[in-house]
Amino acid sequence: MAKGDVARARTTRGAKSAPAPEFVQLLTPEGERVDHPTYAVDFTDEEYRGLYRDLVVVRRLDAEATALQRQGELGLWASLLGQEAAQVGSGRALRVHDMVFPTYREHGVLYCRGIDPIMPLGLFRGVDQGGWDPNQFKFSMYTIVIGAQTLHATGYAMGVAKDGKVGSPDGEAVIAYFGDGATSQGDVNEAFVWSSVFNAPIVFFCQNNQYAISEPLERQTRVPLFQRAAGFGFPGVRVDGNDVLAVYAVTRDALDNARQGQGPTLIEAYTYRMGAHTTSDDPTRYRIASEVEAWQAKDPIKRVRAFLEKQKLADSAFFDAVDEEARAQAVHLRERVLAMPDPQPLSLFDHVYAEGSPLLDEQREQFGAYLASFEGSGH
């Protein structure tokens, strides 16, 4: 190596004092309302309190699921801790007929869709494959394959357009969730291309929680993620992902554009995964404590509570009641998880084909005979 090349070498110590990112914010971490030239919300007092309740309940249920995994009752859990505002804000911005394509971490969006939080736990307990009807709740199945759902969503959105359900204020829109790591997937980039050139009514909602398991954002991109949209030919916007109000405003706007026929938008919700990627992961091996502490100060729930207190929209009785409600829901969830029946072995064959198949019937018969060969099988 030539001596002059030393200039290219970089020193890692203290090199990253990255400036605070520019993003849409309506509620500061201290709970101050701030205005934005483009985005605004006009909630009633009751709606503000409702958002707070959602955030607290979603976090509490998530904590219960993590505990259940640690107690051996779930095989795995992907915690959303820290991302409540990104999920509740976007989830509440959806209309009933809008379609959602989640990853495996969208427990908060699922909650906002009115789906019983017990539903995904069957999947994580290993007793069923997911459990809800995507068409009933307009909420697709959890997708484990990274980024795959963005293509499903794009195809669905193109279908919505072909059905003529876009182009009016009452049109339908589609939202696809994914993370920062997924932006490096071919699927996601293909979804961007297709939805762009076909002007699909879709919102790409990226929760940038800074880590793809252990890989930091700097290994995914050299430009802010939301700027990538420009290269595909649709708008991108970055929002403070820990600000439930801003997330709501930005998502509602993007969904409205989609339903009115103006094509896709990429939203980068800038947030942080406070816990592990999943319960199988140890984030202390790749993150430093000071970084986690810095994000604790930006907690999505504390700022809403500070806002409610400052504006005198809620008193301690309200906060206590919300905590109690969350606790009760968590206890109820736990009881139902523990009572989940193990699946019948033969149910394996039930939902493979809508109308069955001869080969499958044969396999079912063979497996049934095998099971019946055990003492006390009752078959």
Binding site: A9, T12, R285
Partner: protein
């Protein structure tokens, strides 16, 4: 419902077989709430806190800190209704699980292995409690069973052992022909296999099979070491340079150090001065403390100093983070703690990642030097050979002097011969005269 509930160690991360109890956060007699953290457990994947599954009072703790426990083994018993007077079965009812008897014909679980109180299996899987619940197959209601007759062991063409024991033996590289079974009918038990593995501490007497060859499965630390070595040797072009130095003054300096009141009882070895020499030299040539990152060379201001340690489980290279912060005394303490922890097999994963420069002390094996292979991601590694009395030209005369040989391997993509030579030379200069070097460069 039993009042006292035992909590078995769950599989904390998708297919793990065991976990180590790091720390109990509660003690026997403590009243605990649902979801209150009770214990820290480290698995191959993560160190995690386990929350209590039930509220109540801790009535027993079955495994001490530091123990490795198989998944499915009870670790704590909780009295879920402590207010209801003395419990009937306060005695640790781990044995209650052992009471599950299994028909020998079932062949999955050997006697004495069904309970929770068994000896933990350190390698491979252990029999799961669930195995005891396997239902027996319906047997044909054929002719009345012939009278049970014990076959003489001599007629078998292969040693008697149950399939899981065979699997264990295969995993551990134990030849069943070499064992004498202590189980029923002279069958070989899991314990027999394990004892066979523990017995030969001296590698001179491995249990060779009839082919006079032994197959040792490549796994664990050996597998990791192999992968790292291959990855490093075939990506980073290595160069190794050697330097033999007279360390008389270093040895004297160590003697003086040992006599200082502050240093009483501190383990002081020549390795300490080598480490210090490396730190001083890195300060002068920071490029040595760097790594190759494709388009960039990442030069680090901090030094995470790795010390290669031979342990029972194989070679591991834990490192001390940011050694530049430490005084010499703190460095000595950190180094001896590092080695002790490594020998006990308790090095945490965090201590094994992020190293920036490594010293391998081959001298402890009585050899002069070697050509070390770079740990992946590091630009240089120093081998420190044995210190021995050698004939040495000192002030024009041949004298016996303590001498050692240093071997420095470096990544030639980053470090040219000139830089590597200067760096090695400076370490040599330091060890020849540590006081002067510290005054000049420290």
């Amino acid at each position: 419902m039993t009042r006292i509930k035992e909590f078995p160690l769950p599989d904390l991360g998708e297919g793990l077989a065991e976990g180590e109890i790091l720390k109990w956060l509660v003690g026997v007699g403590d009243t605990i709430e649902l979801n209150q953290p009770i214990v820290e457990v480290e698995t191959a994947k993560a160190a995690v806190e386990i929350p209590a599954k039930w509220a109540g009072q801790v009535s027993a703790i079955f495994h001490a800190e530091g123990e490795t426990v198989e998944v499915g083994t009870p670790i704590i018993a909780i009295d879920t209704d402590p207010g209801a007077g003395p419990a009937d079965q306060l005695a640790p009812s781990a044995e209650s699980l052992a009471a599950v008897t299994v028909a020998p014909a079932e062949g999955m679980v050997e006697p004495g292995m069904t309970g929770g109180g068994r000896t933990p299996v350190l390698v491979g899987y252990g029999p799961r409690n669930g195995a005891a619940k396997r239902r027996a197959r319906v047997t044909e209601p054929a002719a009345p069973a012939p009278p049970q007759q014990e076959k003489p062991a001599a007629t078998v063409d292969r040693p008697l052992a149950k399939p899981p024991v065979r699997k264990l033996a295969k995993d551990l590289g134990v030849d069943l022909f070499t064992l004498t079974g202590t189980g029923p009918n002279g069958s070989i038990t899991r314990d027999d296999v394990q004892q066979a593995v523990q017995r030969p501490a001296v590698p001179a007497a491995p249990s060779f099979g009839p082919g006079r060859e032994q197959r040792i499965p490549v796994k664990g630390v050996r597998k990791l070491t192999a992968a790292n070595m291959v990855a490093s040797a075939f990506t980073a072009p290595h160069v190794t340079e050697f330097l033999t130095v007279d360390v008389t003054r270093s040895m004297r300096a160590l003697d003086r150090l040992r006599e200082l009141p502050d240093w009483r009882g501190v383990r002081v070895s020549p390795l300490l001065l080598v480490a210090k020499a490396v730190l001083v030299a890195i300060k002068r040539y920071p490029m040595v403390n760097s790594s190759w990152a494709g388009d960039d060379i990442v030069v680090k201001e901090y030094v995470n100093l790795g010390i290669a340690a031979a342990t029972e489980r194989g070679l591991i290279v834990p490192n001390i983070k940011d050694v530049g912060r430490l005084t010499l005394r703190e460095l000595a303490d950190a180094m001896s703690a590092l080695v002790t922890t490594a020998k006990e097999g308790r090095t945490s994963p965090a201590d094994m990642t992020g190293g920036t420069f490594t010293i391998t002390n081959v001298g402890v094996f009585g050899v002069d030097t070697g050509t070390p292979i770079l740990p992946p991601g590091e630009a240089a590694i120093l081998a420190f050979g044995a210190v021995r009395e050698m004939p040495w030209v000192h002030k024009g005369k041949i004298k016996p002097r303590p001498v050692t040989t240093l071997g420095l391997s470096f990544d030639h993509r980053i470090i040219d011969g000139e830089l590597g030579s200067k760096f090695l030379r400076d370490i040599g200069v330091f060890l020849s005269d540590p006081e002067a070097a510290l005054l000049a460069w420290g």
